[in-house]
């Protein structure tokens, strides 16, 4: 079982100057949700420079297609990332979803406008805002997200009423 080390994943992405936005369960955690998640979901900018940075950050940690049979000739390199879009990976630092195209977000820049810089694990990291996170979850339309959506909306209610403490 590979441990999930979200801080180290984030630190490696930052060290390689990857442009990325944290979404999903880790973003929900950052906003205050008390629910365990076992992967880091990030949306990355699709430029050659950034794709190179993504590869530089993750390649040393043996990224592989999550859930795929062992032994496939998968290599996370610039060509693979350029020709793909979304990658569901496992690595020595845990599971990470590298996403470029997600329901509910037109493109990276639109998502960036709905994100906030947060200090995490010693890095300045873009994290999607709560309202947008809810929108993304709703757009995904997955049954397993219903409970999380309810929690996120409760969280928003608490924030809106200033009742957080």
């Amino acid at each position: 079982m590979i441990p999930f080390n979200p801080c180290e994943l984030i630190q490696k992405l930052c060290a390689s100057q990857v442009e990325f936005i944290v979404i999903g369960g880790v973003a929900a955690t950052v906003h205050g949700l008390d629910k365990y998640t076992s992967d880091l979901d990030v949306v990355y900018r699709r430029t050659p420079v950034n794709i190179r940075a993504v590869v530089e950050a993750l390649k040393p940690f043996n990224p592989y297609l999550r859930g795929a049979v062992q032994g496939l000739p998968f290599v996370l390199d610039e060509e693979t990332v350029s020709k793909g879009l979304n990658f569901t990976l496992v690595s020595d630092l845990g599971a990470i979803d590298l996403l470029a195209d997600i329901p509910g977000a037109k493109d990276y820049d639109e998502l960036l406008e709905a994100s906030t810089m947060v200090e995490l694990c010693g890095c300045q990291v873009q994290v999607v805002q709560l309202d947008k996170l809810i929108e993304l979850k709703r757009s995904a339309g997955r049954i397993r997200d219903f409970e999380v959506l309810a929690m996120l909306e409760k969280l928003r209610d608490i924030n809106d009423t200033g009742d957080e403490l």
Binding site: F4, P6, D34, Y36, T37, V118, L120, A150, D163
Partner: protein, 67 residues
Amino acid sequence: MPDGRSSIDDIIDLYKKEIDVSLIKENLKLTPDQRLQKLQRMAKFAGEARKAGEAMRQSKRSGSTGQ
């Protein structure tokens, strides 16, 4: 559906009734970084719990549980 709501909203409302808001409120007392550190600790604990569970099942399979 009135006021732009869908059946999904009704489902989410059902889930909302079961939510322990006190856990969320406790979490909101932490900084974002502290919340992530907490997740990291949970991840570590989950890994250890999984290992312990696997060891327990292995022990049962090999019949050395003393039962």
